[in-house]
Symmetry: C2
Subunit: 563 residues, 2 copies
């Protein structure tokens, strides 16, 4: 995504020209001790969980959560603003660490775009981070599929647990976009080849193991959560867990090293911890608790982002991640662009170069809704209007005036083009808000509320709808969930990211709508109940011309065509 | 596998008590420059391919190939002898590097046993090497499955190449034992979920990408080999290649970093390069050419091993790997144990504690056959009789006398218990053989021979059979293979490792048998034609009590129950 007015280079070209410091030097600045760091080459490292233990008594840094309006094909640049804001805070002398998610290979190979920021606000080495990085996602894929193999082997070897092969909810995963694996039949070929049954593959980042990995406080908590995972039901419809299969130890062993957060740097040498990467539609869309806790011990400020818009990522950060984290963000940044607001106002992608104040005035209601949501959570906030080459002065003035009129703090950013300098106004505005407004964090529901009440709370307060409707299948599942004693868990909405409603086509700020829940799926290990609305994809497909067709290695061994 | 007479500790306990040097110090001893090494933690590193280029004019070290008799459930300890011999040569002042394969997670999670040696002859850190190591196998899994996703996406998006969905030979892979995935139906669920077809999963180490990875000389050669891979046939029965799909660049990018060999150390700090790990039944069973070439530049001696017995791993090393490597081993070590020889002589596993000279005298004919094979290849050799606690003096004397009578060089080893000290006799014997006998390496067939003649040459010279029979399907495939111009390629036999024949139950030295080829499968990227005999498993299953059930992480974060 190019936000620049002058640049003609691609993100990967800019990244490859950047000079990196040795990661050991970045670690030294954070007072990380030599035996607390495991180098992965010169520019990546894993950090020991001992760091958080050693700094147990140190006050936590202040967490700034970066979220956005509902995403559009125009692009908002949330990761770029996250990196740019971190760089800007460091320029202002604030010891700041960025905490982000690890990108999934599926989208990287599928469509152009990544999760490492852009322009002069990128985390480096971007090729490594966007490819295998330090192997965390591969470890999660392996643990997930090892569990699946143990399930099918248990059934093949006599099925002592009487697992109902029609009621296995555990799916296999690959960290790729591969639609042909969404629905498969396995165990074909006769009695020596396993027991035939329906199965399916999700993308790794949509898996419960990824969510467990990101919500665990430490390795012991990881193991307890893994043990609680429900893989399906037995012939008496009772849940079967990982503990019943006795493989929580092996899964923990497979994930042990991956639990160590990864340290890298931005183009301006701001430290960035990149760890965990759950999808924000079916999972909770935030980087790991372990990483955020460590970042808060190492820095005075932590800039972190949550997936998609504030209706998904931020809501889940505040209801699902915050309790595991033990402390809440002290400010929220809501990223928007003129282009995206105009799309919410009804313009199509190819009309975006034209000035259109009317579309702006309609689309800005989407921004307004997210502002109101963050206010309901009791948190200070700033709108970051991420400038783009096609923005006109009149359009920018419109948004400025609208913010002033509504008493909404805002700042313009030029982080793609100018790096940290382009985020200084935002950084100063955020710091000012944090100084003047004390956060009074208020979750919108309590754990003792019923699941229906939790769903209502999200739909009415966060989406702006009138209520929630449970289809008969979901009602039946609700009874079972309550019967099993899981009713105290938070809900994790699986909803389209494009709209505040469950219909991807309804942009802007829809009103007078209900949200239909077609399925409730317990993720007992992760510790939430997934509420599925609409047709949420847990295994994406590839486009007709996958990005992979342009990828290569040049004669000097450098990555080409990655972005 | 415990060969010790006194030890009561397991391999992992011994390994965890060992003190390792920093891998940077091991690299310094090899005159590796600082910018040629990428650390992966303190005890693992990846080595830049620039090392081999820099040392281009240096004479290659002498390669010693460790192979074995046909493996038995009694265990022979080939990896342990490989490590022990490397340690012993270093003790004798010879600059020696060990070059081994990376273990697959499938067998590790499935049954007790690994590929990192045992006792005081192990490579370290054994937990890391046996689990994710530096992620090479995960990269290969990803590249393999990315290609599969591109194939199915191509078909879904209109199938311009007219791929015949009934004739796709490319399978998906996981690095796990998972029998339920051997035969699957994918693309179920209607028109938006891909095109339904039969498919199957192999274990990653049986994949052609693993073979390509291990036979490539450098990244450019890797890309050329990847481009040549045949993924199936079109409606006119013409081969469809990776190049036709235009994804050789993306696959190369996914494998680029994995191409760098991994440096670790043994318990006695002997350098070990562990890289690539193809199965020796369907693939060629040797570590990577890139790693072996680098080891030969860095050391005066290279101790390497090939999979299973000399009929599989060594034959493939000499016919398939040696041409890619550009030079041949100068000596061969054939590992045997009293226990294994007695099993070849007809004893069952629970009878092995009993002395049985008659069984020895029958079983030793298996050893004899492998000796004859190595002689036919024109290479000096030594039998390593790897001592075990239950061996009696009479049994050892029997083997010694038999060797003396037949003028076969042999040495006893106690490498499990004593490390390098237990391999000194072997090291001295090998050095003496290399000094007195110059290798006159002679392949048993030439590339211009017909495929039938190549098959005959292996069956008669290596297995000791009378000839080869091609089933009708294989005869038809042979015609197609020759028609496509692939007849010059070497053959890669897919045969049971347990017997010299294609029947796993025929131990010892069977005679007057033919070998039946049921299928010929071109691996054009790897550059060989796989000849399948019997029922060769390309995706293993898990046993009733998988090793995973005992695995765990203890409260100090240490791996438990891994071996």
């Amino acid at each position: 995504m190019k936000h620049t007015k002058t640049a003609v280079q691609s993100d990967i070209e800019i990244a490859q020209q950047a000079s990196m410091k040795k990661i050991m030097d970045i670690a030294s600045l954070l007072d990380i001790e030599e035996d607390e760091i495991e180098l992965y080459g010169k520019y990546k490292a894993k950090l020991s969980l001992d760091i958080t233990k050693r700094l147990h008594n140190k006050q936590n840094g202040k967490v700034i959560l970066v979220t956005a309006i509902n995403p559009t094909p125009a692009g908002e640049g949330k990761s770029t603003v996250t990196v740019g804001l971190g760089q800007a805070l460091n320029k202002l002398g604030k010891k700041t660490i960025i905490a982000m998610r690890e990108p999934s290979l599926g989208p990287t190979m599928g469509m152009k775009g990544g999760a490492t920021g852009g322009g002069y606000s990128q985390v480096l080495p971007m090729e490594d981070i966007n490819l295998h990085f330090t192997g965390d996602i591969h470890a999660i894929t392996t643990a997930n599929n090892a569990l699946a193999a143990m399930i099918d082997n248990h059934i093949h070897q006599g099925n002592d647990l009487k697992i109902d092969t029609r009621r296995i909810t555990w799916k296999r995963v690959l960290d790729l976009n591969d639609r042909a694996l969404r629905k498969v039949v396995i165990g074909m070929g006769g009695p020596t080849q396993g027991v035939p049954r329906e199965d399916g593959f999700d993308i790794t980042v949509a898996s419960e193991i990824m969510a467990v990995f990101c919500l665990a406080k430490d390795v012991a908590d990881l193991k307890e959560r893994l043990a609680r995972i429900v893989i399906g039901y037995d012939l008496e419809k009772k849940p079967v867990t990982v503990k019943d299969l006795k493989v929580e130890g092996a899964l923990t062993l497979l994930l042990k090293d991956a639990c160590m957060p990864n340290l890298v740097q931005t183009m301006e040498h701001t430290p960035a911890i990149i760890h965990g990467g759950p999808f924000a539609n079916v999972a909770h869309g935030c980087n790991s608790v372990i990483a955020t806790q460590m970042a808060a011990k190492l820095g005075d400020y932590v800039v972190t982002e949550a997936g998609f818009g504030a209706d998904l990522g931020a809501e889940k950060f505040l209801h699902i991640k915050t309790p595991a984290l033990g402390f809440n963000p002290e400010a929220v940044v809501i990223v928007a662009t003129i282009r995206a607001i105009k799309m919410h106002g009804g313009m199509s992608k190819d009309q975006l170069k034209e000035e259109n104040l009317e579309a702006l005035s309609i689309g800005i209601e989407n921004v307004k809704k997210h502002v109101e949501t963050v206010e309901k959570f009791g948190l200070p906030y700033v709108i970051a209007l991420n400038e783009f080459i096609t923005d006109t002065a009149a359009e920018i003035d419109f948004v400025k005036n609208w913010c002033q009129k509504n008493d909404i703090p805002m700042a313009l950013t030029q982080v793609w083009e100018q790096g940290g300098d382009g985020g200084l106004e935002l950084a100063q505005t955020v710091l000012a808000q944090m100084e003047t407004k004390k956060p009074a964090f208020t979750p919108l529901y309590l754990s003792e509320d019923t699941l229906e009440k939790k769903l209502e709370a999200i739909v009415t307060n966060v989406y702006g709808g009138t209520g929630v409707e449970l289809l008969p299948a979901a009602q039946k599942q609700l009874q079972q969930i309550v019967g099993e004693g899981w009713g105290h868990l938070p809900v994790c909405m699986a909803k389209t990211q494009y709209s505040l409603t469950d219909d991807a086509k309804k942009l802007g700020r829809p009103e007078n709508f209900t949200v239909t829940i077609r399925e409730l799926k317990p993720s007992v290990g992760a510790g939430f109940i997934v509420a599925l609305t609409g047709n949420i994809m847990t295994m994406p497909g590839l486009p007709k011309e996958p990005a992979a067709l342009k990828m290569d290695v040049d004669e000097q061994g450098k990555a080409v065509g990655l972005f």
